[in-house]
Symmetry: C2
Subunit: 332 residues, 2 copies
Amino acid sequence: MQRVTIAEVAARAGVSTATVSRVLSGRGQVSEDMARRVRRAAEDLGYQVNSIARALRDGRTGTVGMVVPSITNPFFTSLVESVEHVLGQEGKELFLCDARSDPRIEARRLASLVARNVDGIIVSPSHGTESGPAVQETADRLPLVQLDRFVAGTDTDWVGVDDIAAMRQVVDHLHAGGARSAAFVGSRLTNSSSEQRLDGFRRRAAETGLTVRDEWILLGDYTVEWGEEAVARLPDLPDAIVCADDLIALGVTRACRSHGIDVPARVQVTGFDNIEFARLGEPALTTVDQPRDQIAAEAVRLLGAAGGASRAHISLVPRLVVRDSTRAKEPR
Amino acid sequence: MQRVTIAEVAARAGVSTATVSRVLSGRGQVSEDMARRVRRAAEDLGYQVNSIARALRDGRTGTVGMVVPSITNPFFTSLVESVEHVLGQEGKELFLCDARSDPRIEARRLASLVARNVDGIIVSPSHGTESGPAVQETADRLPLVQLDRFVAGTDTDWVGVDDIAAMRQVVDHLHAGGARSAAFVGSRLTNSSSEQRLDGFRRRAAETGLTVRDEWILLGDYTVEWGEEAVARLPDLPDAIVCADDLIALGVTRACRSHGIDVPARVQVTGFDNIEFARLGEPALTTVDQPRDQIAAEAVRLLGAAGGASRAHISLVPRLVVRDSTRAKEPR
DNA sequence: TCCCTTGCTGTAATCGATTTCAGATGAAGT
DNA sequence: ACTTCATCTGAAATCGATTACAGCAAGGGA
């Protein structure tokens, strides 16, 4: 159970710890003779570096922290997977934290990541305003990139999709399928995704002449349950229901099915994110595909390039995936 | 950006670093006078401990590593969430790694967790035999608990469900619903869950006189796609299809729907795990609910209690959740 | 008055790997 | 033979927090 230290390797090889370090880390020049002896000794003893000691010494841990609002939301899960993959390619590792959609828990997580000397932090903030102080404070100490969601009034890099452009595609597609009125089911306006998507929806609906009534704007959580409940709350049925994410949309189609409302004949429904289960809905969901791998790659790149005085806001244009919950066959 | 060290706090408060440490960590006696001065100085400078340095000093990091086969599988995700929650209550944090169902990647992750001095490791091994060496080697150095799955021939603690008992419930329930023959769709026999579940299925099927033909045992991956494909591969239809997890079951019911096979009237289908989406299938899946929170709590408890010479194997009895993909109304 | 506690505080060692700096060796050049 | 360099090694400092140990002062008892 005792860990082997560099000193023991040095003793066994009959050299100094400096030489051992040089051999094993590959920097500095060491004669082939010594190198062999050291490697042999390290091998025999089963030596492995203590990365805590190394981290203390050179101030970097090779670790990136990531904080997401909810690890059970498949969208964030797949984002985490992408980020982990990209980091893996640079030999870095991921510290994953779940904020449980609570800005206070989020703040604690961020502080603890700072204390643990991660080299950078990727965060998808839980709340559009309340997450602000903690995020900004953290960003002042470490490279930090916001992902997907964005907190108002913070000065950090950001990567996500262009929600406005996405909603334009969605609305146009529904319109092409014959919709003349539409409802929006989203989450309470406590984060930027939700706001942006609602905003984009409203704008494009106005431009295309779609009827949108105030009672048709329903805000709750990013959950299947809320989607189901929202349908019950609609005073009457519009031609289409635009959902702020796929979980909500799955709830909406499920509720429609159990109320005997035909989708897409009577009501067209759209989701957002293109999680794996979107295609498993009945009917399969038309939704907006987020380019996760690209988002992850950009985020990691920005973390590495941190330090420039100017902040980057990278918004990628997502792609509409047409399935069976809408009527038009073309993306727009 | 510069981090404040204990020395700076000491200088500002006009005391030694020892005193600062004693005040801030609360151990050792310090006069109220000094304590106030120190706290004041720490506050002013925005001091935060460097947990790397602390970890180096006292050999513990307050961190637990967890390795799962696939973070995109909702079952593992919810398990991670439970574990994270339990750890959070003891002030520990979780280092999450995704093995991508590859024992080699898994071995690398385990080694890196050891190098990072985590206090313990929770792993759900990817492969029933190939994961063995890495898992055993890791367990020899650190407290380690296997979760859900188990590697043959390793000597470590384990927590999971009693797959045999679960399958007994499943088979009895299908039998009660009128099934007289059944197929099994699982994953290739590369992990204990799969083996145990198939074994349990076979045994109980034999005991209850259910017909099981060899061509009805189909093994692939834990994915929706495989479930869909498996249906196409069945030479003819049994009365029931028992799936080794919910993802497979979702694929199976989806394929049945698109082939016009009525579930549960023509074929009954069952899943395993009770992931959130199980109830969203069409029809909603009858499945086996895994007591995640309890599994997580036991795992964390075992990690803490490590050191005893004897190994604990804790198997919890899961509960059958009856929904619409089967015919009988009672659990058994 | 002197010794012994008791209660605080500071000095310095410690954890393990890395790296600076100085010293040693040997080869090549004049 | 004497420099001059290049090449390699090792001693010791360093990162930041913790803690064993020693020292000091005040108070009590003999």
